[in-house]
């Protein structure tokens, strides 16, 4: 019998192949996908989170574990869907129009994948229209925008207005971030949330989407 603890431990160690293998094996043995997810993968990510807080693991290692999570999720998803589990939140993520800085956004994207969100990464220099399209076409439940420059920050406001104009503001949450962004700015432009860094973004996203 595949031990859930073994899956968790290997996830913490960043062992992609091992975790995929164990996940597949667990499913073949009859373990429910939900159990593998909760007691294997999420449990592992919890340990990662604790070690990160304690300065024992750092970002590259955390991101590696998140990637392992993503790979294992691909194996689990069909089973989860079959069992009627609620699909994971879809997040449209991008750096706003006129801005090509991407590292912060990429960090957040990988971290989000690490907790099971489906991330639609729109890339950089993303126009308000493309954010709107992502919500419409992919049914994204949250739009997350990044900007590094004070000159491109205003496009966060433009995007929120575009969502409003498209009648989508009610059904989608908006979150903003970036070195020059602040809670105050987020409030000013009517964004639903702001987070100062990727780790805080996870907590905020869960809160906004009412996920435990």
């Amino acid at each position: 019998m595949v031990n859930m603890k073994e899956i968790a431990e290997n996830l913490v160690q960043g062992e992609v192949s091992k975790v995929k293998e164990l996940t597949q094996a667990a499913l073949s043995e009859g373990t429910s996908a939900q159990q593998v997810l909760n007691q294997g993968l999420m449990a592992g990510m919890d340990v990662v989170g604790e070690r990160f807080k304690a300065d024992e693991m750092f970002l590259p290692e955390v991101l590696l574990s998140a990637q392992v999570m993503l790979a294992a999720m691909e194996v689990l998803e069909p089973e989860l869907a079959k069992a009627g589990a609620k699909p994971f939140a879809k997040i449209a993520l991008g750096t706003v129009q006129g801005d090509i800085h991407s590292i912060g956004k990429n960090l957040v994207g990988i971290m989000f994948q690490g907790i099971g969100f489906k991330v639609i990464d729109l890339g950089v220099d993303v126009s308000p229209e493309r954010f709107v399209d992502a919500v419409r076409q992919e049914q994204a439940q949250m739009v997350c925008m990044s900007a590094l420059l004070t000159t491109t920050m205003p496009f966060m406001k433009t995007t929120i207005e575009a969502l409003q104009a498209a009648g989508l503001k009610g059904q989608v949450k908006t979150m903003v971030g970036g070195a020059v962004v602040s809670q105050r700015y987020a409030d000013e432009i009517g964004a639903d949330g702001y987070a100062p860094d990727a780790a805080a973004a996870i907590d905020k996203a869960k809160e906004l989407l009412s996920i435990g």
Partner: protein, 486 residues
């Protein structure tokens, strides 16, 4: 007795080396390889055309691979010295060799208010005050805005910011601009101040600050400004900000290669646009903190990498833009002091030419007058260290040693009276009193004494004003820009 010696004064100042000559050459070669193998993305048509016509290989619309000979050509044609003048035309800042000049950094969204202690958004008035303070400080040689003007219409904030600088200091200004049109207005404003375009070209009191986007991307805005600077003969500081482990390799040498590849591809475009265009190699090079993901301005790696870049620039015999006097601290505390001191000393030892970011706190997000004024004193100490120890017949002092003899003292000796002022640096902010005296004077910390000095400067110092004529013309340029934007 006259002593004849050759080469005796060769090492009168401290010597410092971060990289060996061979290491520098390896980094140079690796840079050439990156430009040929990986190339860069240039998001501007004119930039791509210039590179393509000169022989670069273009893939798609923006991916350009630059052959080594183009880089060598650019290194040869770029001027080995760039001189910045004060607003009244005096050629004060000679960016050449290992001459070192210090100045502030640009565009901090917040300022630490010296009167309320509040961290708040920067205003135009904050930039005016920063300019005034820098104008008064003897160890600050050039000025960058420190604050980012937030209380004016966004589209023309760069013109307002420049006006705030231009009117409150005569020291050379390194400016930022939103885009080409902002830059054109700023050049015009500077020309008004100095008495015409030709005056400005001959004795530039301004330099443009522009940045590629690491890794290996040149945004449209950056290239437009770079090329305009080349055309107008405005010195440009082209500064990548690679973060080791984030936007650049985790290994420091790899980060140097990344920075160098971006800078040199910028240099090639600049020289292709205009041979001999004044160009200053730069870099704000450091690590991405692997806990908090910030750009670590106080990291020891920043000082090391900056020093290495200076040495690479010396190898090219081109002027160099470095980083010091900055910190990740949120307030002007002990961390700020440590990080400021380390960085300033390393920058001076490395012989970097234009050393910026004095006054930066919170990893470039908050400007602080206290940090600026404290660092002015740090620089004074650094300058003393850099003057070195003179060893000659007079300084070896054999005659006075013999005269005073065992058990005497030197206080009233003519030799002491003659030399002590020059040999010994006297502090202004650093406290050397004994405990009782310090207590009687209020028992103040460095931070408190620095705040007092900031307030004193703001109350008592007056920069040289421009004529009402010129002030009106400058106002008109901004008004015109505002009208255009509507």
């Amino acid at each position: 007795m006259e002593i004849t010696k050759s080469n005796f004064k060769a090492y009168a100042t401290p010597q410092f080396k971060m990289l060996s000559d061979e290491q520098i050459y390896e980094i140079h070669l690796a840079t050439l390889e990156v430009l040929e193998r990986t190339g860069v993305e240039v998001f501007d048509e004119e930039g791509v055309d210039l590179l393509a016509s000169a022989g670069s290989h273009v893939e798609g619309k923006a991916r350009v691979r630059i052959p080594s000979y183009l880089v060598e050509d650019a290194l040869k044609s770029a001027p080995k010295r760039v001189t910045l003048a004060s607003r009244d035309g005096r050629r004060k800042v000679l960016l050449e060799g290992t001459k070192v000049y210090f100045g502030t950094g640009s565009d901090c969204p917040h300022i630490l208010d010296s009167f309320t202690g509040e961290r708040r958004l920067s205003t135009k008035e904050d930039v005016e005050k920063a300019a005034l303070i820098c104008d008064s400080l003897p160890n600050i040689d050039f000025f960058m805005s420190l604050g980012l003007v937030s209380d004016v219409p966004g589209a023309v904030s760069d013109r307002h910011q420049f006006q705030a600088m231009l009117l409150n200091t005569t020291k050379p200004i390194i400016f930022t601009a939103h885009d080409e049109t902002g830059m054109a207005d700023i050049i015009e404003m500077a020309a008004v101040a100095v008495g015409g375009r030709e005056q400005l070209r001959g004795n530039p009191c301004i330099g443009l600050y522009a940045e590629p986007s690491t890794p290996l991307q040149h945004s449209k805005a950056a290239v437009r400004k770079l090329l305009l600077a080349a055309q107008e003969g405005i010195p440009v500081v082209y500064t990548p900000c690679p973060l080791a482990g984030g936007t650049a390799p985790a290994t420091l040498a790899g980060t140097l290669v990344m920075d160098n590849a971006e800078v040199l591809s910028g240099l090639v475009m600049s020289q292709l646009r205009q041979k001999g265009a004044p160009f200053i190699l730069g870099g704000v090079v450091t690590v991405m903190d692997m806990k908090t993901a910030i750009i670590a301005y106080g990291a020891p790696e920043l000082h090391m990498l900056s020093a290495a870049l200076a040495e690479i620039a010396h190898y090219y015999r081109l002027p160099m833009f470095s980083t010091a006097g900055c910190s990740d601290a949120k307030v002007m505390d002990q961390q700020a002091a440590i990080e400021s001191a380390f960085s300033c000393l390393m920058a001076a030892l490395s012989g970097a030419n234009l050393v910026h970011d004095v006054g930066y706190l919170e990893s470039a997000l908050t400007g602080s007058y206290e940090m600026l004024v404290m660092t002015n004193e740090v620089i004074a100490m650094v300058k003393r260290i850099m003057r070195g120890i003179e060893v000659n017949e007079e300084s070896l002092a054999l005659d006075v040693i013999d005269k005073v003899g065992p058990g005497g003292n030197f206080l009233l000796e003519e030799h002491t009276l003659h030399h002590f002022r020059k040999e010994q640096w006297h502090p202004e902010l650093m406290d050397r009193n004994n405990y009782e005296k310090w207590r009687q004077a209020g028992g103040k910390t460095l931070g408190q004494r620095t705040t007092e000095k900031v307030k004193r400067i703001l109350a008592e110092y007056h920069p040289e004003p421009l004529s009402p004529e010129k002030l009106k013309q400058i106002d008109a340029i901004i008004a015109r820009a505002g009208a255009r934007k509507e």
